[in-house]
Each structure stands twice: as structure tokens, then as C-alpha cells.
């Protein structure tokens, strides 16, 4: 069998793409839709850099087949801001300098957004645990934890 035509809903826009079964969501986002905010890291599920939200929940797009997410609501880092206004988690990452090279940031931010949806008033320890599947080689995590805690104090911190 050849490629399959599927309809993806990414950041509220609908896209028609034609892909073989083995194409990952990560490949479609970066190579077909040019949404390169989602990062290509380990490609084996270990780093979290490729995290996107599917129906509001975090998934690793390097391990998700594109054909599986047909019709589901996909949010990438490009679609998190509301109009021109950054999401509270994004704002706090910038303000509190939780971003250095920025490679882990899209996955880290989306993981944090999904987590704040599940647990709107977390402790520092709970935040550490929640982001423990996202590897950052720069910040030492401290400022990331601070940023997530700060975002949790703003209304809408867990808005997806």
C-alpha cells in the first residue's frame, strides 16, 4: 500500500498531508509543515524535546505515528500563545530566564502546561517530578521549576 492521506489539526489549522504509515508526527511537523519549534532530540523517547500536546495531553512526537493522530487536536509551541499574547508559562520562562540555549524549552513548556492543567497548584517537588522526563543540558532546572511555580500563580497557567 502507498501513502495515506490524512487530515491533521495543528494549532487550530487543518492540514492535509499524504504519508506512509511509518512517518512520525515529529517528521510531519518539522519537514512537511515547517513547524520547527518542536525539536528533534534523541528520537528514542528519552529527552522530551519533541513533546507536543494531543487533545491537551503530552505525547512524544518522535514515538507517535502521524496516521494515529488524524482528527485529534495537536498543539505545538507555535500555537500556545493566544493571539499576540504569550501563554503564562511562556511569559514566566522568559521573565525568570528559564531558557538558555532554548532547545529543551518547547517540550519543557508544553509538558508544564499539560501538568498545570492536571495539578494547578503544585509544590516544587511535584513540578520537578512532572518535568523529570524532559532533559535540559543548560539551566540546571532550578529556574525552570521557579518559572512553572510562578506560572501556577497566574490565572490560566494550565490553559491549553
Amino acid at each position: 500500500m502507498g501513502d495515506r492521506s490524512i487530515k491533521l489539526i495543528v494549532n487550530g489549522y487543518s492540514y492535509n498531508v499524504s504519508v506512509p504509515a511509518e512517518t512520525t508526527l515529529l517528521e510531519v511537523l518539522r519537514e512537511e509543515l515547517q513547524l520547527t519549534g518542536t525539536k528533534f532530540g534523541c528520537d528514542t523517547g528519552e529527552c522530551g524535546a519533541c513533546t507536543v500536546l494531543i487533545d491537551g495531553r503530552p505525547f512524544r512526537s518522535c514515538m507517535t505515528l502521524a496516521v494515529e493522530v488524524e482528527g485529534k487536536r495537536i498543539t505545538t509551541i507555535e500555537g500556545l500563545a493566544n493571539g499576540g499574547e504569550l501563554h503564562p508559562v511562556q511569559k514566566k520562562f522568559v521573565e525568570l530566564q528559564a531558557i538558555q540555549c532554548g532547545f529543551c524549552s518547547p517540550g519543557m513548556i508544553l509538558t508544564a502546561v499539560a501538568f498545570l492543567g492536571e495539578n494547578p497548584k503544585p509544590t516544587r517537588q511535584e513540578v520537578r517530578r512532572a518535568i523529570s522526563g524532559n532533559i535540559c543540558r543548560c539551566t540546571g532546572y532550578q529556574k525552570i521549576v521557579e518559572a512553572v511555580i510562578a506560572a501556577s500563580k497566574i490565572n490560566g497557567g494550565g490553559r491549553k
Binding site: A21, E22, T23, G45, M63, E68, F115, I131, G133, N134
Partner: protein
């Protein structure tokens, strides 16, 4: 690296899935969340011609009390669902501990309970890229004639590192296996065959559909411990679960001691259990049982830790699990 080419079938019902499995001619593999299978495919360790994506089957992710004194967990239930479920939290807190210890919380949405149980054994000489492996001859697990972990070894000793099977076995769980011919239910302990090449006895046309756990009586306590190098993302280097039932006098009437990540399948030490049963256990008895456990495990140098260290950990884990379950101090 792109995944190798395959075809995909996305059944809506269990019957459709079983039909596909029963008359397939190509190499077919079941995929649930894909968090174990997709990385294995990427490394060239699994090469199906066709992937049967069972996550599209509706109704296979229910957690309920549908039979007398048992809870049933549908095969596709995600680890997130399991750790959030009030029925599970209330009846099986040790299962929740085990789930929480797996990978990292953000991976739990895409990981299923059946995929966890049915995952393959792992080895530091096997779970590597094609390029890495090309530098060595093929080992038994890759259909070769040697083992890189044990010199002159004559079999594969890859390690079963799934965290849920040991704790589920300690709770006397069983699994329902469906094929086109019907269903069979077997104790989870009998599902494993202690073989590094492939750890379980699932037939080629079978799907695991349910995990069934008896609701514990109030005098049954289950505990779980796991040690891994980093406290997130890493697989266990040793893990263990213990269940104990005591009577009103404090005498142990039943005990299960099950270890994981120390061999090609979960390992139950019946001899160690006998040391505990019939006694009012104290720290010394627990330590004696833990010493006995060591006779049953034979780890080899194929994880991130040494066999000697993992043996020490096994002993430590058993003492700790027993003491926690029995409310004895000094287990740390």
C-alpha cells in the same frame, strides 16, 4: 533516522484485530502506545511488515470491578489512568507506587499496562543503534551464535525490566489472553518463561485483553521498591515486590517475594517465602529470607550496574519491602 517501512492496520474492535492476527502471512506486531516498540523499531530490533495498532480498539481501557472480588484493568489502560484511578489507589497502592516509578509522568499518557507487561527483555549489548551493533558479531538475541555479556555463554540472559509484572505477580494477578478461538485466563506468573530472547508465552495470534487482580483482604499488605541509576527515565537495575498476609496474632499466613530486572523474567523465591510463613517475622527473619533470595538470582554484566551490586540491591530491596509490609523498623 526514519523508521523502516511497514503497513498498518487499525482495527476498531477486538474481533477485527484477532481476525487480522489469525490470518496474517506477513510479520505482524501489536502496537499499543508504542513507547517500547517504536524505539525498538528505530534501532532495527523489531522489523514488522505490518503493525497492528490496537490502541484504536474502543472499550479496551476500562478499569472496573466487573467480577466477584476482582478488579479488571483493560489492556489499553494507560499508566496515567491506572495511577489516577480511585479503585486502583484504594485497593492497590503498591501498584500505583510501581506505576509512578516507570519512565517519567509525561510518558504515562502514551504507555499502556499490557505494553508494559509484554515488553521485550533488554541488554546493553542489544538495545543499541545499528551502527553500534555492527561493530560486534550477532549475539543470540539477534539470531547469532554468541553472547557478549557472558564469555562462553550458551544462552541469552537479556533482562526483563518491566516494573509492573513483579508487583502484579505478588498480588496474584492473572491475565486474559484472547485469540480467534476464544479466551484463556492464566496466572501472570505463568505468562513468563524466563528466556532472554523473548520473555513471554503469548501465542502469535493472541492479544492480552485484561489484567485481573483479586481485591485484597484487609490483612494483606503489598510493597514495592525499585532502584535505578537516575530517578527518572532509567529502567530498573533491581526491583522487588512483597505481599504478606498476617493473622490477628501477627503470624504470617501467606507471603510472596518477587524480584524484577535481575534475570530474563520476574523471579519468585518460594524458599524465601517459606522462611517467612508460619513465623511472627522480625528483622532477623526478614534478613534471613533476603539472604535466601540471592540463591535464586544470577544477574550477568548486561545492565548499567554490576552483577555484584545488583545482588546487594536485591537483598536490600527484599528486607526493605518485608519490613515496610510488616511494619518492622530497621529495614533501611
Amino acid at each position: 533516522m526514519h523508521l523502516p517501512h511497514f503497513e498498518i492496520t487499525e482495527p476498531r474492535t477486538l474481533d477485527d484485530a484477532l481476525l487480522v492476527l489469525s490470518d496474517h502471512e506477513d510479520r505482524i506486531m501489536i502496537k499499543a502506545g508504542g513507547t517500547a516498540l517504536i524505539p525498538a523499531m528505530r534501532l532495527g530490533l523489531a522489523n514488522p511488515d505490518r503493525v497492528l495498532n490496537i490502541s484504536t480498539i474502543s472499550d479496551m481501557d476500562k478499569i472496573d470491578r466487573h467480577r466477584d472480588n476482582c478488579i479488571s484493568i483493560g489492556a489499553n489502560s494507560s499508566l496515567f489512568q491506572v495511577r489516577q484511578s480511585s479503585i486502583i489507589k484504594e485497593n492497590f497502592p503498591a501498584l500505583v507506587d510501581a506505576v509512578k516509578s516507570i519512565s517519567s509522568p509525561s510518558l504515562h499518557h502514551s504507555s499502556s499496562i499490557a505494553g508494559n507487561i509484554c515488553q521485550d527483555c533488554r541488554c546493553i549489548y542489544y538495545n543499541q543503534s545499528l551502527t553500534w551493533r555492527a561493530l560486534r558479531s550477532k549475539c543470540f538475541k539477534a539470531a547469532g551464535k554468541t553472547c557478549h555479556a557472558v564469555s562462553n555463554g550458551n544462552k541469552c540472559s537479556a533482562v526483563y525490566r518491566g516494573d509492573l509484572a513483579p508487583v502484579l505477580i505478588s498480588m496474584s494477578a492473572s491475565v486474559v489472553l484472547a485469540s480467534f478461538k476464544g479466551k484463556r485466563e492464566i496466572p501472570l506468573s505463568q505468562f513468563f518463561k524466563s528466556n532472554g530472547i523473548w520473555p513471554n508465552t503469548l501465542g502469535p495470534a493472541e492479544i492480552l485483553t485484561e489484567v485481573v487482580i483479586p481485591i485484597p483482604k484487609s490483612n494483606l499488605k503489598v510493597t514495592f521498591e525499585k532502584v535505578r541509576i537516575r530517578s527518572s527515565l532509567d529502567y530498573a537495575i533491581a526491583t522487588g515486590a512483597v505481599s504478606v498476609t498476617t493473622d490477628s496474632e501477627g503470624t504470617c499466613t501467606d507471603c510472596k517475594i518477587v524480584l524484577g530486572a535481575l534475570g530474563p523474567g520476574p523471579i519468585e523465591s518460594f524458599e524465601a517465602e517459606k522462611i517467612i510463613v508460619g513465623t511472627i517475622p522480625d528483622l532477623a527473619i526478614c534478613k534471613r529470607a533476603a539472604k535466601e533470595v540471592i540463591n535464586k538470582i544470577h544477574p550477568v554484566a548486561n545492565t548499567e550496574s554490576t552483577p555484584e551490586h545488583r545482588i546487594e540491591l536485591a537483598e536490600f530491596i527484599v528486607v526493605r519491602c518485608l519490613c515496610k509490609a510488616l511494619g518492622i523498623g530497621g529495614g533501611d
